[in-house]
Symmetry: C2
Subunit: 315 residues, 2 copies
């Protein structure tokens, strides 16, 4: 089934796949303003968006000058937004509702997402998940590589899911066996267990026996059309599944699964591949290929891919 893969072409394709997700040109990065609450950096915005937010009727945003000699501006909340998480959640929500009504925020999910200084800190407020790219707030999620490999000597295979045709984002596209956003109030590993059960019918005992945390990947993307910033950290897991186990769609997010060889995974990297995987999955899969010796560091381009993978470190 698999055709011989040209190594040089594969390295180029992988670099393109990373750049497609992790796309923040230097000149755009230089213009970004911090979005701060209580002095903590909690997001990043382009100047045009900051201005738009400050000029809205219902605005609770204002620009202030940094204290240092550089006199750079930063975006923050006005005192009208209140000082508690609850007050700010409500105040920012009013602004985001307006942006939804104006069509600037699409795909509203009615799901509140925590905004905080870092992943382990309590949130300074919550905001609608679909609107976080307006403020360049860092999104956290879990991505699971579903692997079948009985011993290290065996060639691993990877489970690939197909998203439901009714999903609001990337309908019908190929995907990881399981992936999901990280809600507040639940540990990462408990979220992994929960998502595995809900999305792929993998029971808890199988997950806990076969799962291993393997790090995190991060990426930052600037969308030239909307000027919004996607900034994400995906905690990554390898889940080793028994060879006789088959994942099953449970909650309707996925319509089916198939088990791919590493050659099939590599073939799908080609930029003209007819039925590609969801873009951010490629970054997680490339990290897997590197970590597990499926790509040789002797191949020209290996370090370029590694560097690009690590460039969007999302502080």
């Amino acid at each position: 089934m698999a055709t011989k893969i040209d190594e040089e072409q594969l390295m180029n394709d992988m670099l393109c796949r990373v750049k497609a997700v992790n796309n923040m040109p230097h000149d755009i990065r230089a213009t970004l303003l911090d979005f701060k609450v209580d002095g903590y950096k909690v997001g990043k915005v382009r100047p045009g968006i900051a201005e738009m937010l400050c000029n809205m009727k219902t605005s609770v945003f204002e620009l202030k000058q940094e204290d240092d000699s550089k006199k750079k501006s930063y975006l923050t909340l006005t005192s009208d937004a209140g000082t508690s998480s609850e007050e700010r959640t409500k105040a920012v929500g009013t602004v985001m509702n307006q942006l939804r009504d104006e069509g600037f925020v699409k795909g509203w999910r009615d799901e509140l997402f925590p905004v905080s200084e870092n992943f382990y800190s309590p949130p300074v407020f919550l905001m609608e998940r679909a609107a976080v790219t307006v403020l360049g707030v860092l999104e956290y999620g879990v991505h699971i590589n579903g692997i079948v490999q009985e011993s290290r000597q065996d060639e691993p295979k990877m489970w690939i899911g197909r998203r439901s045709a009714t999903k609001s984002k990337f309908p019908g596209m190929l995907d990881h066996i399981v992936a999901g956003g990280q809600p507040s109030g639940i540990s990462l590993i408990d979220n992994v267990v929960k998502e595995c059960e809900e999305e792929a019918g993998i029971e808890e005992s199988i997950v806990r026996a076969g799962v291993q945390s393997v790090g995190a990947i991060s990426y930052e993307n600037w969308d030239p059309k909307s000027d919004k910033l996607t900034r994400a950290v995906q905690f990554t897991y390898d889940l080793y599944l028994p060879p006789d186990f088959e994942p099953k769609p449970v909650d309707g997010e996925v319509q089916g699964f198939m088990l791919w060889t590493m050659d099939q995974v590599k073939e799908s990297m080609a930029m003209d591949y007819a039925d590609p995987i969801k873009p951010n999955c490629y970054v997680v899969i490339i990290d897997y290929l590197i970590r597990t010796g499926q790509i040789s560091p002797d191949s020209n381009g290996f370090l370029d891919i590694l560097r690009e993978l690590r460039s969007g470190d999302c502080q």
Copy 2:
């Protein structure tokens, strides 16, 4: 033998261990000049070192202005250095010999190291290995985690070597089972095989059966005493060894080996640990602990360590 390890303390210690090797303050980074040959960036230097090099009697160095509007300077070779790799090797060698005679370059090894735009490009010249920190040239090496773990369910153990008391650098200190610089003209994997045989008596068939490339780590260090820059990329490998195999010192670089549990590895991270491992090994080991799920991403500080690990990406 192992005492219970405090998770919070461990995360702090690991962060300190990474920072100890990957130490490039922002204000120092901002002052660095590129060292260019034929328009390629091949190193970085502090302004004081650049000035010293240009003012030496035998100098073949000069400062030039960047073409762009920022008018920043860069260090390059004069036309007196010639245009071929051979001529430049000789010209730069004369300068480095003088710096050795003046005591500025220590630990001379009579080993020529390739200077190139990137790892996969042919060298623009060669220079004495002990002198590469003068020009902030990127050094490449291989580091091997020697692992005993029969199946994924087993707790892994790691072989730790003790360096010979007569080594010029870090004599008598704990070390990886095998590590070494990457010479030109040999592939990384062949170098791994060669070093494993020479340093630890691991025969080729055992290496090839158990070795897996797992990526690379990089670090940049500024030495405030000498103003020199250490910049390195270490290609990393996990070598799974049979449980009944014992590494043996062969070439006298190592005096002995011991097999540690992961608890012992983690205990040795403490900044006041009496008999620590060679500093750059900690960075490779922390990467191993993260990749193999020995540290939970639910632990506060996990992302700080990951970010710090990836900050010295050594372009």
